[in-house]
Symmetry: C2
Subunit: 183 residues, 2 copies
DNA sequence: TAAACCATGTAACATGTTACATGATTTT
DNA sequence: AAAATCATGTAACATGTTACATGGTTTA
C-alpha cells in the first residue's frame, strides 16, 4: 500500500538507481519503511510502466548496467495526493508480545535469552539514532525540512527508548518468576 | 510467519470456532497480532490438515454450522518450539512517519488534520488499555500467568503513551511551521 | 584468471486484503 | 416471510520473502 510512495519519496529527494535505493532503504528511509531489492526492482518497473517515474534520459544501459530513475510530474502529484489523504494507523503486530502470551500457556523456556538479545539489538539501534541526531541535527539549525525530518527521527529514538525500557522491565519480572514450566 | 502460532495460542487458552477466534482477534489477541476472518479460516484448514489442531469430536457440522477446534499435542509442541526459538525483531514500518518524510518534499497540506485524528485514535486506545488494566490486573494478584499477560498489556499501554506524546509534539511543531508548500 | 563484488533481475511461494457467496438462525 | 445476523467459506489480487540467475567490473 505504501511501498510505491516510499520509493517516490526517495527518488524525489534524489534520483537513484535500484541498488542505490536498496542502500538507502538499508539506512535512512528503511528506518521506518523497509524493503528488499527484489521489492524495489519490481516496484520500479510498475512505477515506470504507470508513467510516475522514468529512467534518466541519456542513458540506455543493458542488463548489469546501472539505471537511474527520476520522478515525473504525475508521480509528484500522486505522492502529494497520498500524503494528504487520511489513513488509519495499522494495528500493532509484534512477535515478541505474541511469544510472551504463548509462553503463559506453554512455558517460558528459552525466551529469556532472546529478550536479552532483543534488548541488546534495540540498545544498539538507539545508539545509532543518537549518533544521527548529533550529526544531522545540531542545535540552532531549523529549516522546515529539518524540523520534519527531526520529528521522524525523534519517533525512532523514542520508540527504541520504549523498547529498551520495556525489555529491562520484562527481564526484571523474569528474574522473580519461577522456572520453565507452563506458567 | 506467526499467524498459525497466534491461533495455536488462542486455541490453547480456550477451544473456539472460527467466528469466536475472529472476535478474540478483534480484542485481546488482536491487540498485538491482528487477523481477519478470512485469514483465520484459511489457517484453521491448514493447521487441521497438518494435525496440529482438530475439530472437537462429537460434532460433525455442515456448512453454516459452528465448528470448534482444539489443540493437539503436536500443536502444543510446535507452539513451545516456536516460542523458545530466537527471532529477530521486525524493522519498523509506519505510514505516518513515511508521510511526514514525503511532506518534507511535496508539502504538508492536509497532513495536520490527520495527525490530529491519529492523536484522537491513540488516546482512545490508551484509555481502553487503562480500563483493561484496572479491570484485569488489580494490585495484589500476581500469578506467573498474570505477570506475563500484564507485561504484554504494559507494552501496549506504553506504546500508546508514546504515540500520543509524539503526536502532541508533532502538532506543536506544525503550529510553528509556515504554510502548505513544499517545506 | 579466478574470486569478489556490483547491478539488475526471475521464479516460487507465503502472507495479507478485498469482495463476494452461501446456508442457518434469529428477529421483526 | 422478509430482513438481519451468525457462521463458514471461495476467489482474485496485492504485498512481502527466499532462493536463485546473469552479466559486468574490480581486485588479488
Amino acid at each position: 500500500m505504501s511501498l510505491p510512495h516510499a520509493i517516490l519519496t526517495a527518488l524525489a529527494e534524489r534520483p537513484s538507481s535500484g541498488l542505490e535505493l536498496t542502500r538507502r532503504f538499508d539506512r535512512s528511509i528503511g528506518y521506518f519503511w523497509s524493503a528488499t531489492h527484489q521489492q524495489i526492482y519490481r516496484e520500479l518497473g510498475k512505477l515506470e510502466a504507470d508513467g510516475l517515474i522514468r529512467a534518466l534520459p541519456g542513458e540506455q544501459p543493458a542488463r548489469g548496467q546501472k539505471k537511474s530513475y527520476e520522478v515525473m510530474p504525475a508521480g509528484r502529484a500522486e505522492l502529494a495526493r497520498w500524503t494528504a489523504a487520511p489513513q488509519d494507523p495499522k494495528p500493532l503486530r509484534d512477535g515478541m508480545l505474541l511469544r510472551l502470551r504463548a509462553a503463559a500457556v506453554v512455558g517460558t523456556a528459552g525466551i529469556e535469552a532472546d529478550l536479552r538479545r532483543h534488548l541488546e539489538l534495540h540498545a544498539r539501534q538507539l545508539a545509532e539514532y543518537e549518533e544521527i541526531e548529533k550529526r544531522d541535527f545540531p542545535p540552532g539549525r531549523d529549516s522546515a525540512e529539518d524540523r520534519l525530518r527531526h520529528l521522524v527521527l525523534r519517533a525512532g529514538l523514542d520508540l527504541e527508548t520504549f523498547w529498551t525500557r520495556w525489555l529491562e522491565h520484562a527481564l526484571a519480572e523474569f528474574a522473580e518468576l519461577p522456572g520453565d514450566g507452563p506458567a
